[in-house]
Subunit: 128 residues, 2 copies
């Protein structure tokens, strides 16, 4: 596994992190996500971390970096599915992830992104 | 990693397979998915395999089993993101996956599930 798949859902991208991140994988994810945002003109990125039972400062920094890169590309980032223990660890690590929005699950994440991108032309998954 | 996360999206469930499947993980996924279908009254299941560059008969059987279990629980299954090499391998292995619907990506998978479940009461992600 040298790539984390990025799923396109309307005008949003969804990434589900399930494996231990290491340097190369994190860099590949940053590359793929930024390219994906531009290629698909994505207005938002959801990063699902429900499979992560713990995080370290490396993961915390990676999430922050992705959110910052996405913002520069005019895209919003929402981290979804954070486990309670992860929230505790992030704060204890001194990484309160300011500037990163979170939602309890993918549905709430989509709602948050929709609200954030309201007023856009929107060819999102809402359209039937 | 002993669990593959299942993401709820409206009346559908989404699973992204990114890691090598082994017996225990496949059984856990079957358990979690069938429980998830009942718990969330899910009308459809999407299994994203875009990260898989090859499959073997074990994976092929697992996908078939999941589709059959879902059908018994009145839920439709769509496999999304299959790579060309995987399609070739499945046929060469004598596993043409009859009865399993496929779609090129998550968006097309959602459209397929919506069409398949049309007429249901639907509290799906389409509703704003």
């Amino acid at each position: 596994m040298d790539r984390i798949p990025i799923l396109k859902m309307g005008e949003f991208l969804l990434v589900s992190i399930q494996v231990d991140m290491h340097d190369r994988l994190a860099l590949a994810l940053q590359d793929d996500l930024t390219e994906g945002i531009v290629k698909h003109r994505a207005r938002g990125v959801m990063i699902d971390i429900s499979a992560l039972e713990m995080v370290d400062s490396f993961i915390g920094r990676m999430l922050s970096n992705i959110a910052n890169m996405a913002r520069l590309l005019d895209s919003h980032t929402v981290v979804v599915g954070m486990q309670p223990s992860v929230a505790i660890t992030l704060v204890e690590l001194g990484l309160p992830m300011r500037g990163i929005r979170t939602a309890l699950d993918v549905e709430k994440g989509i709602a948050l992104l929709r609200a954030a991108t309201q007023g856009s032309s929107g060819d999102g998954i809402a359209d039937n």
